[in-house]
Structures are given as C-alpha cells and as structure tokens.
Symmetry: C3
Subunit: 370 residues, 3 copies
Amino acid sequence: MTSSALAEHIETVALVDHHVHGCLLRPIERRRFENLLNEANVEPLADFDTAFDTQLGFAMRAHCAPLLGLPRHSDADAYWRARSALSEDDLARRFLSSANVSDWLVDTGFAAGVADLDAMAGLSVGRVHEIVRLESVAEQAVQASGDYTAAFTEILHERAATTVATKSILAYRGGFIGDLSEPAPGEVAAAAARWRDSGEPRLTDRVLLRFGLHEALRLGKPLQFHVGFGDRDCDLHTTNPLYLADFLRRTGDVPIMLLHCYPYEREAGYLAQAFNNVYLDGGLAINYLGARSSQFIGRLLEMAPFRKILYSSDGFGPAELHYLGARLWRSGIREVLHGFVDADEWSEADAIRVVDLIARDNARRVYSLD
Amino acid sequence: MTSSALAEHIETVALVDHHVHGCLLRPIERRRFENLLNEANVEPLADFDTAFDTQLGFAMRAHCAPLLGLPRHSDADAYWRARSALSEDDLARRFLSSANVSDWLVDTGFAAGVADLDAMAGLSVGRVHEIVRLESVAEQAVQASGDYTAAFTEILHERAATTVATKSILAYRGGFIGDLSEPAPGEVAAAAARWRDSGEPRLTDRVLLRFGLHEALRLGKPLQFHVGFGDRDCDLHTTNPLYLADFLRRTGDVPIMLLHCYPYEREAGYLAQAFNNVYLDGGLAINYLGARSSQFIGRLLEMAPFRKILYSSDGFGPAELHYLGARLWRSGIREVLHGFVDADEWSEADAIRVVDLIARDNARRVYSLD
Amino acid sequence: MTSSALAEHIETVALVDHHVHGCLLRPIERRRFENLLNEANVEPLADFDTAFDTQLGFAMRAHCAPLLGLPRHSDADAYWRARSALSEDDLARRFLSSANVSDWLVDTGFAAGVADLDAMAGLSVGRVHEIVRLESVAEQAVQASGDYTAAFTEILHERAATTVATKSILAYRGGFIGDLSEPAPGEVAAAAARWRDSGEPRLTDRVLLRFGLHEALRLGKPLQFHVGFGDRDCDLHTTNPLYLADFLRRTGDVPIMLLHCYPYEREAGYLAQAFNNVYLDGGLAINYLGARSSQFIGRLLEMAPFRKILYSSDGFGPAELHYLGARLWRSGIREVLHGFVDADEWSEADAIRVVDLIARDNARRVYSLD
C-alpha cells in the first residue's frame, strides 16, 4: 500500500491546519503534561490513572517517540525523560516542522501558557494567521467604557483587519439549544448593563452571545464553532450541531465551520450537504482517537461534499499534538482512501484530488489564503 | 471472494424495492441534475461545488458509467455528455432493468416531473405497486366540500383498494416529538376548518397529521415513515425514531416500516427488536454513502431481527438512483456477510438465507405481494 | 493471527464478569427460551419470527453448539434438541465453566426463575459476589412500617455489608432527563407516604429514586447504572448517559459504572474521560451484536482511558449468555487489538496489558476484589 502514488501524495502534501492554538513555551510538570492530554476532564487525573494509557497516549508513544530519538512504543517514563531533556522551543520546532503544515490558523482566544502569534511565527514552521474569538471580544468590550455595542463592533473590526476568521465557543457557554436569532438593540444594551454590574469576567449571557454571532455574520469572514467533544464544562448533548439548524438557515453565504464534531460527525456531515455555506473537520477528535481515528475519518467522508471537509489538529499546549494531528490524519485518510481505491469504488486520481481538497484547497478557498 | 456461492447469489437475486419514486421523464439541465443528487440541500448548489464530488457522485461514475458505455470512473463532463446523448426513456429502461428488481413499490405522493405508475409500468422493468401518501390524501380531502373526516376516509379507502401501503412524511411536517395519540372527532373538525380557512395547501396541522396516522392504522396496511436523513425542511434531530416509541406502543399488528434511518439506524434496529410490528431499511442513505455504504449496511444488521430488515432505493428522478441503490446494496451486503462467513461467525448457507429475507422475502410477506 | 502471544493471552485470561444475573434453574418451553434471547421486546415474539434468526441466535449456534457436541452453525431445531437433552444444571456448569470467569458480580434485583447467589456459588464456576439493586431496597422499605428513610438506610447498610456494589435501574423508571439532586427529607417522607398509600409495588416516584441514588453515593461503593439498550419499558432516548452529567458532577470519588451503553457507547466513553470516577462496559450489547460485536468493542476503546473500561456479560437466564458474552468479547477484542498491533499503532506488549486491565484488573481495583 505504502508505495502507491496515493500513499506518497498523502505523506508529502503540505497541510493547512485551519484551527489550532499555541504550543507550550516553558517546561511543565509531568502531571500537568498528562492533564493536557485529557481534553474532557477539568480536574487533576486520579492517582490510579495516567494519560499515557489512552489512545492518545499510545499514539504519542508510537509516532512522537521516534522524533525524540526513541524506539516506537517506548514506555511512558522513557518518553517523559527524553522529552524533558529538550527545551520546549526545540520540541516545538521539531514537532511542528515535522507536521509539514504550510499555514497555521491560530485561535488566540485561550492562550494561557502557550505561544502567541509572534512566538508561533518565530518558530519558522509555516505561515501564521489569526482567528479572533467572539467571546474574547465581548469580554474586552464589557471592560471598555461607553456603549457596549459600539465597543464590541469597534474591537471586532479592528481585530478583523488582521484575522482570517472568527470563532465561537457557544458550545461552552450554554450550548446550541434555543433561540439564536439576532437580539434587538435594547436587549443588548440591557444585557450588557447587567453583565457590567455583575463584575463577572466571563461571558455567559445568551443575548450577548447571540449578538456576537450576528456581528460576526455581518463581518462576513468564516465563523468557526466548537462542536461536540471538549471539556466537561459543556454539556455534550447540547452541542449537537443539529440544534444549529435554525441559525444556519439565517447565515446566508458566510462560511460556517463546524470543528471536531465527535460524536456528531455524521450530523455535521448532513449539515454540510444541506447548506452551501457549512463545512466540517475532525479537529481534536483525531488526536484523541489515536489508533481508532481512521474509522472516524471515514465517517467524515459520508454525507459531506468533498469540497466542504477540512483538516485541523486543534493542537493546544504540548507540541506533540500539533504534529500528531497531522500524522494521524495522514495515516487515517490513507487507510480509508486506499480501501476505496482497492475496492475500485474510487479511482486513485480521484482519491488524490480529494486529499488535496481536504488537506489544503478547501481551506485556501474559504479563508482566501492566497 | 466473488466466486463464492454467496457472492453469486447476491449478484443474481431479484429484489423487491419496497420504497421508490418515479424516474425522470424528460431531459433536464445539468445544474438541476446535480441538485437532484443532493438530498439535503433545498437551494441551488453553490458555484464552487458540484454533486459529482461526493460519495454519490463518485459511486455514479464508478457504477453507472459502464452502463453508458464509458470506462469506470469517467469524469463528470464525460459522464454528462454520454448521459445527454440518450433519451430519459432509454436511460430509465437501461438503469432500471439492470437493477434486477421484480417489484417496485412506488410512493406517488411527490411526483413532479417524474414517471407516474403507468409510465413506470410501461418501462417493463418489473411489477409496479402503489404506496399512498397520507399527507396527499389530507391535502385532497381539505379541497373537498363537506365533512373533512368523511372525505379523508373515503379518499383513503378508495386509494387503498389498489395500494399496498401507506406512507407518512410526518418527519417533514414537524417531526416525531410530542403527542401522537388519536385526536377526538371534535378536534379534527375544528382543525380541518382552520386549515380550510387558511387556504394553505400543505398539511402541517398536528391534529390532522395524527388523525391521518390513526386512520392508516385502522386500514391495517403497512405504514411507512420517512425517518432521519432527508432534505433540510425537516429538523433532523426531531426525526429520531425513538421519539415514535409511544406511538409504536399503540400500533398493534400493523407493520410500521422505518425508512432510511441514517444516522439513527441503530435506534431503528432497536425498535425493530422491541416491537413485533416494526421494520427498517437503509433506503436512500445507501446511495448517498457510496463507498461508505457497506459500513452502514453492517449497522443495519445489528439489533434488528433478520426478518425485519428490507431493501429499498428510494430512487427519485435520475434513473441512476434506482439502479445504484441495488448495485451498492449488493456490494455492501456482500462485503458485510463475507466478513461474517470468512470469520466463521456465520455459515454461508445462513448468509444466503438472510440475503433472501432482506432482498425479497420479508417484503413479500409484509406487503402480501404474492 | 491466532498463534500470537496476544491471541493466546486473550483466549486464556480469566475474566471478572462485573455485572451478571443468575442462570436458569429449570427447563423452559422453546418459545419462552426464544423470548429470553430478545432483550427489547416485552411481548411474545410474533409467529413469523424466531430469535434464532438474529445476530444473537447466529452467534449461539456458532459458539455454543460445539459445547453441546454439535457442529458449528447447527440449525435451530438441532440446537434446541441437544439443549433439551441436558439438565439446566448441566448446561449451567458447562457454559459457565467454559466462560473462564474468576468472579461473577451478580445483580440479584431481578431474579424470577433464575439461580440465586447460593445456587450460583453451588455451580463451582468461580467466586460469586452480590450487587444490591437500589430500587429493590426501596420496594422492601416501603413494605416496612415506620419511617421510610430509616427503613431504606437500614436495609441498604445491612445488605451492603455483604455486597460489592449498588445498582440503579433509573433508566427503566423514567430515565436520566431532569433533576437528580438529593431531595430534602420532607420531600422524601411525603413521597414515601404517597407511595405507601398507592399500594403500587414498583418504585417509580422520582423523589425516592433520587433519594436512593444519594444514599448509595453516601455508602461509597461503586454504583452501577443500566444505560442504553434494554427492554422497551425504557424510552431509549432518555437513557443517553450525557443526561447524567449534572449528577456525575456531584458524585465525588464514588465509582459510577455505566453498563451496556449501546448505542451511546461513545458518549459513555467521553464521560469516562471527563470524570475520574466514571467507568463503562459493553455488557449485554456484545451478546446481542454477535458477529457485529467487534466493531462495538472498538468503539468502547475510543475516548475512555484504558483504566476505565470493564468486561461484563449481563447474562440472565439461558446459561449460553454467560458463556457467549465472554466468547464474543475475546473474539472481538482480539480482532480490534490485532488490528492496532498489525498496523504498528500499538505494541503487542501494550495490547496484552490493556487486555488485562479490561478483563480483570480494573474490576479488581474498583470493587476491591482481592
């Protein structure tokens, strides 16, 4: 299999990682490192547990160990020792360059302890673009004096001048169920006043969340949504993208990017077929599924038209994640597409064309990267 | 694999397509043709997109191109040219006869621009039977003068004399969530009066939808439900068949046929195990999944007893769909069942027996076709 | 494949079956036997149907027939004759010993017509431990005189002295949707009084169900939940374990065991990653999926950390189920893990280690079996 033109193309194509975060800048403790390998848990891992005994942990030992000069499947302690012997900067250059990514689209909305845009660009591992998080804009706007709406739109437009997309974490701020129509100006002003009075730094008010989404639509740049799998601050069942259907009916031509989607990837694929402006990726689920990620990648290739599917790693923190997302995506799509080609359901030429669409061309078109 | 008795039987068994629509009668434009290859979208496809770059498009180029004298995987333009060189009548005969279907059960409820029963019968590609759509009966009844209930039951019984089943598109008219009990006569009369006054041609009133379902149950013929995947006029999450559970508890012995079911095929399989009178198929999802359809067919073979699973294409419009449903079902079930037999989990004789149940025998029994 | 160290280890490792019921004690009629092979239906099977024509039926004929001296895939009548020639006691010893289970954790909450703890122990097929069902405790407490709360806690603590876990069938008594917080003492007393007055033997009152759960948490022993697939008395959509998220946030360190989980095994896996104290198994779904169970076992190995996954058969009644659960789990996990190892995604040593965790070590740790 590995000697085919398809397999070779998959190995060498440069990717656009259309949703990612900064990598670590400074060494961290092992327990903290392990917790960064568990997406869903928001507490320290239990004493009896270890993030190395998961699909992600096994995948890291299989694929990242060789980049540290270790044999494949080296054990957790050996892996940790080898990793600890290198600086985070060295690790970042090593892993990110091995990902073979031409463009990193970086969500800077949550960036505690990780590289900012300049630091990412400084690694010289590909072009860096910014994605602006709507809830961060709101949390800045509420700190400003004067009219909230004016402050929000001013900050958004200022940021938008240098960013390629917006992003919403509505999934973590109440989920998708319920009215997502544009609120009236009076409602926005009242909600903003209540929020300011509360002193709460985090945006959870539904009116203002809706306001932000519709301002983003007005801006016209692609709007990314965290969908499905994430930490337990979200109630997973409220992040089923089908609950976005009414909202999507009002989004016109603005590209809506459904990120991660697990375990709702088939629902997301249906939406990508149903709406000309809806797209999806497998995002961080690919890393977390490890040896099981090819089945997931297969499900991403069901109802969604091939011009509506993208690649992302959603890497955050350990630089392994920025690499592993690409590594597992390459292996997974190779397995899936080779299956189609070997069964003569697809031609090899078509398979190569679909690889290019998902790896880079769809992202370049949607984000106008060239 | 292909030389086994099982594989040969799967290739040659004549199918009952227990839910299908008419095929095209007149040539259409390419954009319209492509839109007919997208089930979920109700708008023209975006300029950057093409229905040829989907699983269905690839499957059509793989399996239908040879029937047009083209090599497998011919490109979209070549395919379109070859198709355009033939009359729709010629295309219909070619594709429908190649499907090797003995009986077509035709839903005539939505038939704009496609063959009616006589035209389907005139193709001489198998026996033709009618399925009457409950919402169409209602939409006729509301046009009649006098008592709505009397008009509905009169039309239903008149139609039923020559039809093998009823069909409901409740999925598109509000979905399955909520009370589906039989409404009182006074409620029905009041709702019918409101509907008549409104002048709205389409039935969306919940009381009258419920009324129609219970009249269908009284009739005793199999009642088909559109379930899951369809166009975006339905909110997909409201078409999860689990929401039908209370209704199913009141359906007695009347066969209830759950159609398509994606992405709720496992839930539908559970219902087929839980209720003696519940059945399922994979319907149009098989066409839309193309090279991924074998995994879906595998999931149809989970909780549902083998005497409760049927075949349908749900072909509508392009005659390719009437053929491709059969072609992909044959390939998919061959892959799934050969897997079971090769692992010695099933005997080959059992596998052949299950093929016959799904391909024709369950449908013949349920619809009393012989 | 079968000659590998991994395959050999999987075949020979002794299992902990952490959730099971008694096996049959007395011969039963064939129709009753077949109905015991259908989990979801609560009515007699339809005349046209047979439980032998299901995945479970085929798996039984493949794997249990040889233990009765028959060829693999013997037909239903031959199987029934051979089975009928043996006593239930003989069948139980034969099948349960062949399961190679070191410890059976027996839910005694529903035990009509099946072996009790002493009878299970008398078979000498492994150690026997008890799981106490919370709803049974409640149904005893309501029969006692005096204060319901006092009676419940007294019975629970008395039973708990000799049991390894508690179990809730909340799934069958209204499902997981809604408030699951601890009710106030006054609410409990009022609800208990209402229940006593009603004369209804079965607990369905939501306040008392919630009360029972929180008493179980206070006890500190692992708390098992029936999740997903079961008989149609539950509305399957209300048993999605994601609806337990708020409850789980209040369960501290008490192990919460999600049983069966089909078709919500991916959601359960997410919860096992999100909460240090949440575990899952595939339970009775493995038996019912037969030749399809390896795909299900694969999905159990997605988001859940490997120290949070357990084995159970949930066998109830026919002794075949106690054996078949183990047989299918061994075959299924062999197929899944060999796939990982053959692709060099996992090392064989890691795969063997994960087998031990799931087969026995996680259960031993959680239930303090040693």
